[in-house]
């Protein structure tokens, strides 16, 4: 089974390629695959009907308990015949109808494979996946290449309806699986669940089945889907896909027929659909729509019969299923031939076609007769069994069901007659059609499908053998004292009389079609499910717009306020309503915390009221330094060091960018009301976090992990536990972190260094330089020695002797310090981050004095290469151990005897730290270069739209 499924998929993948080379051959190749499936089914028929089943299991994720289980039992066998048999003939028909359509060939064949999987799946989740795959393929086939608006709309409607039903069904499957404690269908059938939420599961599954099989109120998508090419309609929307819902009902009825809503829902919805859709069919003038509504009607009957849950109705359902697949697909294909040869499907414009296409007429007549239930065809066998099953039904409401079935059958006879009359009869006043000759390749698949009706009807023993094993399933109600046998003649019985009179009445309705149509147009209109669908979609659209209008005001502060209020109300409310045991709170742990807290809080207070940008940035720096000092008090020197360095760099970078922005914040000041509101929200949120912090730290249970880390840090070659964590225990984390850092630096560099125009914006002489020219002689502090070579090029007013001397002296020392920090990190506070930041600051200092990034970093490699090389080195060190059969990020320690230094203990993770160092240094350099570029781009503010376009030279 799995091999067959794979064969479908593999051949389908290869068809589009073949289509360009063999426009017809592609369809013949495609048809071979379902033919192989039919042959395979025939091979196993005897064994399966004798009670054996075929099981296959593919476990593709055993750890997650995900398996694909396939099973061939009598009902699946019947469906395989339908799906693959009809599929093969439709594909052969396509060779003449759609030559060269590789996309359609591939999709149809794939669809055949998916249907094959669906009817053999023995696991609810696998069944669901196949089920949704059919919806998707149906969408693709209806939409075609998406060129027509009606195609797109019909495809969307089909997908929305069936997928929404599918979701309900999935929910039902899961509930059912929970109730039954298994997702295997065969186990479900062996031990049907009954308690708890089984009724809800059954209801949801029925919703899915009804949507798929186009039952009222979900029926509108199927007639709309008739925009698809006729063979697609014949296969998907008559024989196969819409049968999935019927199959699912038939599959689960033995387990669920006794569950509350199952039988009433199935009978009520099925028979209502049967009658309503048949009445609609009777009013169609488009032959294809006529049989489309006929399909909806027949599906209603099938759902009712297979869901009723008695032995005879199950027999009837199976026979009708076979019959319907054969006659409905042949009728669809007939419509395709009629349209192809005459150019129309409108029965008012067709006349006298019967004499011009005699073979087609005979085939269509046989099919329509089977649809109407005339003996000795398979449709007759099914209808008789249906009447008998409902007549002798061992449950209440059988009489109503018989009445519904009779009314539906009457209308079925009438629309069957209307179809034949419309397609082939000679009509007064309409000129005879002049059809083009029909290619034999289009007609003989129709004849084969039509021939199934008399063959299965006359050879009823064979049909009986095929359908009886499922009907005998444990779980279906047997009618006591009434053993229905599949045969053409049961004597004169009440069901026979009803059936015969309905055929007569149906023909009478057709004969009196004009008065019937007049009466029909005066009747109040039946609720139209297309309008229901349109209203639902429209309603959802309106609800979405309403929601958008009332929640999306477009204001960022508003959104953030809502988020913060949620934080305050939900977790904060929970904290207040379930207050944790208030811990013993001490005022402070260390006296040093008090002055530092005062510094931080004062700076914060200044920050929120600051109106000057530079002031605010400096205050942020003060906050950062205060926090760093608090880190130190807390016993985290590494953290404090890094924080000091980062804060310095942040302030420098922010100030360098800030030079270009107005000195005061814009907009200047919000209204007092909004400030009060913001302050209230911010204070409440801050209070919330503080309360949470106190109560959360009080309940920390275990410190074993931290103790272990400290104890085992020396194993990594480091005595500094924080460094050991960064380069060893959590090195993967660090690797991710430096990647993030590199990405943000690339982004920032691109944004800052971006030049919208190559033209330099001229800057007018500033007030400072004019003053400098005026007082040229008094610049005593301008250096006269070349302390920094690059600074010589600066205007004298911008130079400072103090800075140049200090930088000149400090630069090498700072670089040495950075290397020291890198290597000392293993034993003392420091490490790659701190070292890299210090080195970065050395270059920053030079840049600040010399104003030229290239001069500050005069090596012939770019910052990009430095940071990228750092990341590459870290990644190499991480992956290297794999070569030696060790896990990634493994670190080895060895001792090296060096001259002068003696024995030096080295852990390989020092190279990881070196990578971090290089990356951080590269990131700092990258920012410097970007800032320099941004400065070169000019200081003049030019609004975006007013910028001059680049002039071609």
């Amino acid at each position: 089974m799995l091999a067959l499924f794979a064969l479908h998929a593999a051949v389908a993948a290869f068809l589009p390629w073949l289509a360009a080379r063999a426009p017809r051959g592609v369809w013949y190749v495609a048809a071979l695959v379902p033919l192989a499936a039919v042959g395979w089914a025939a091979w196993h028929t005897g064994a399966v009907l004798d009670g054996g089943t075929l099981n296959e299991t593919l476990s593709w994720a055993p750890a997650l308990n995900l398996t694909v289980e396939l099973r061939l039992d009598p009902l699946s066998l019947l469906m395989v015949y339908v799906v693959s048999g009809v599929g093969a003939l439709v594909l052969l028909y396509c060779a003449r109808y759609l030559p060269g359509h590789g996309r359609e060939a591939a999709l149809l064949l794939l669809f055949a494979g998916v249907m094959f999987g669906l009817v053999t799946a023995d696991q609810l989740i696998a069944l669901y996946i196949f089920w949704e795959l059919t919806s998707v393929i149906s969408f693709l086939l209806i939409a075609g290449r998406g060129e027509g608006a009606d195609h797109r709309r019909a495809a969307e409607q089909a997908l929305l309806t069936t997928a929404a039903g599918g979701l309900a069904m999935l929910f039902g499957f899961i509930l059912l699986g929970i109730e039954a404690d298994t997702y295997r269908i065969s186990e479900l059938l062996a031990e049907p669940p009954s308690g708890g939420l089984t009724w809800l599961a059954a209801t949801l599954i029925l919703v899915g089945a009804f949507a798929k099989s186009a039952q009222v109120p979900f029926s509108a998508w199927l007639p709309a889907a008739m925009v698809a090419p006729t063979p697609v309609s014949a296969y998907l929307h008559a024989a196969a896909m819409v049968k999935a819902g019927v199959y699912l009902v038939g599959r689960l009825t033995p387990a669920l027929e006794g569950v509350g809503p199952w039988r009433p829902a199935v009978l009520a919805f099925g028979l209502t659909t049967m009658v309503v859709a048949a009445w609609s069919a009777l009013r169609q003038n488009d032959l294809k729509l006529l049989i489309a509504y006929g399909t909806v009607s027949e599906l209603g009957m099938l759902i009712a019969l297979l869901g009723a849950g008695t032995r005879t109705s199950a027999l009837a359902g199976e026979e009708m299923l076979l019959a319907h697949a054969a006659f409905k697909s042949s009728l669809f294909l007939t419509v395709g031939v009629v349209e192809r040869t005459t150019g129309t499907r409108d029965l008012r414009r067709l006349s006298g076609l019967g004499r011009r296409l005699p073979l087609l007429t005979v085939a269509a007549t046989v099919s329509a007769a089977s649809m109407a239930g005339l003996p000795p065809l398979i449709g007759y066998l099914g209808k008789e069994a249906a009447y008998d099953g409902l007549w002798h039904a061992p449950f209440a409401g059988g009489g109503w069901a018989v009445a519904g079935l009779a009314l539906g059958s009457l209308l079925t006879v009438a629309y069957s007659a209307r179809f034949l009359w419309g397609a082939f009869a000679r009509k007064p006043g309409v000129p005879d059609a002049e059809p083009k000759p029909a290619a034999p390749g289009l007609v003989w698949p129709i004849c084969l499908l039509a021939a199934a009706a008399p063959v299965l009807g006359l050879w009823y023993e064979g049909t009986a053998r095929l359908v009886e094993p499922y009907a005998a399933t444990r779980g279906l109600l047997a009618e006591p004292g009434h053993g229905y046998a599949v045969t053409l003649w049961h004597g004169i019985t009440a069901p026979l009389l009803v059936s015969a009179s309905m055929i007569v009445l149906g023909l009478a309705v057709h004969w009196a079609r004009r008065p019937v149509a007049r009466v029909g147009s005066r009747l109040p209109r039946l609720p139209d499910s297309q309008r229901g669908y349109d209203r639902t979609v429209h309603g959802v659209d309106h609800a979405a717009t309403w929601l958008t209008r009332h929640t999306q005001v477009g204001s960022l502060p508003f959104y953030l306020t809502v988020l913060l209020l949620t934080v305050i109300l939900v977790p904060g409310g929970t904290l207040l309503s379930h207050p944790p045991d208030w811990p013993e709170v001490v005022g402070w742990h260390s006296v040093a915390q008090i002055p530092l807290s005062v510094v931080v809080l004062t700076a914060l207070g200044g920050l929120v009221v600051a109106r000057h940008r530079l002031t605010a940035v400096l205050l942020v720096g003060a906050v950062g330094y205060g926090v760093a000092a608090l880190f130190l008090v807390q016993g985290a020197p590494d953290l404090a060091l890094t924080q000091f360095l980062v804060e310095t760099l942040t302030v420098v970078v922010v100030v360098l960018v800030l030079r270009r922005l107005p000195s005061n914040f814009t907009p200047e000041r919000p209204s007092p009301r909004s400030r009060v509101l913001r302050a209230a929200v911010a204070l409440a949120a801050g209070g919330c976090v503080a309360y949470f912090a106190v109560s959360a730290t009080a309940v920390r249970q275990s410190l074993e992990l931290s103790d272990t880390i400290i104890e085992r840090a020396p194993e990594t070659g480091a005595n500094n536990a924080v460094n050991a964590l960064l380069v060893d225990f959590r090195a993967l984390d660090t690797l991710g972190e430096i990647s993030v850092l590199l990405v943000t630096a690339i982004g920032a560099g691109a944004l800052l260094g971006y030049r919208s125009s190559r033209r330099q914006w001229p800057t007018g002489p500033s007030a400072g330089s004019r003053a400098a020219r005026a007082f040229r002689g008094i610049h005593w502090d301008v250096p006269r020695e070349p302390w920094l070579p690059e600074a010589d090029e600066l205007p004298r007013r911008d130079r400072s002797l103090l800075l140049e001397v200090v930088v000149r002296a400090l630069f090498p020392a700072v670089l040495v310090l950075s290397v020291y920090l890198l290597f000392a990190g293993h034993y003392r506070p420091g490490g790659g981050f701190a070292g890299g930041l210090v080195a970065g600051q050395a270059f920053t200092l030079r840049y600040l004095v010399g104003r030229r990034a290239e001069a500050a970093f005069p090596l012939p490699i770019t910052p990009r290469a430095v940071s990228g090389g750092g990341l590459a080195l870290a990644a190499l060190v991480a992956l290297g151990p794999l070569l030696f059969g060790q896990p990634p990020l493994y670190s080895a320690t060895f001792t090296l005897g060096l001259p002068l230094l003696g024995d030096v203990k080295i852990a390989t993770n020092i190279f990881f730290d070196l990578g971090v160092y290089l990356l951080v240094l590269g990131v700092c350099l990258k920012l410097l270069f970007a800032l320099a570029q941004a400065r070169d781009a000019g200081d003049t503010l030019v609004p975006y739209h007013d910028r001059p376009r680049r002039v071609p030279r």
Binding site: V227, T344, R345, D528, D534, D541, T545, T548, R549, Q552, S555, L560, L564, E584, V586, W588, Q593, V600, L607, A616, V617, V623, F631, Q634, G635, D638, L639, Q643, T650, V653, L658, T666, P667, A682, A685, G686, A690, Y691, A693, V694, T697, A698, S706, I709, I710, A713, A721, V722, L726, R730, D733, V740, V743, G749, S756, Y827, P829, F833, V923, L941
Partner: protein, 143 residues
């Protein structure tokens, strides 16, 4: 067990409150400063969950009766500090770019959000879109 002291709780609360206040502003620059302050707040909170002050976790450091500070939140906070730096520079570049393009660094209301909310009103006042499919007898033929 270990408990946060009141002074530190006050600092953490103050940092968060100030960060949120700045975040709610319409000036991109103040929003950026808010993000920086919030970064400090989160890092400090993370560190404080490790318990009261202790000896730096560098061996051999703690004598008898002393305890080490918890290294795990320290390493996490260190990672967070560096990431905050990266985010800050990126945001700063965005502020700079916004200023370059628009000539201001103000977060104005997104008009597009409001336009989406009125899309149907505009559709209904405009020419009607073809939505009804004809299912009446006589319709839908000749496809």
């Amino acid at each position: 067990m270990t408990t946060l002291d009141l002074v530190m709780a006050l600092v953490v609360g103050g940092l968060f409150a100030a960060g949120f206040y700045l975040l709610l502003d319409r000036s991109l620059m103040r929003i950026l400063l808010g993000v920086i302050v919030l970064g400090h707040a989160a890092n400090l909170l993370l560190l404080l969950t490790g318990g009261p002050p202790g000896v730096p976790p560098v061996l051999p450091g703690a004598g008898a009766g002393e305890r080490y500070a918890d290294p795990l939140p320290q390493a996490m906070a260190l990672t967070a500090i560096v990431i905050t730096f990266g985010i800050t520079t990126l945001l700063l570049a965005l502020v700079h770019r916004a200023w370059q393009l628009d000539g201001h660094d103000e977060v104005r209301d997104d008009v597009e959000d409001r336009r989406i909310g009125t899309v149907q009103d505009r559709e209904e006042s405009g020419p009607p879109l073809p939505t009804d499919r004809d299912h009446e007898p006589g319709g839908g033929s000749g496809r």
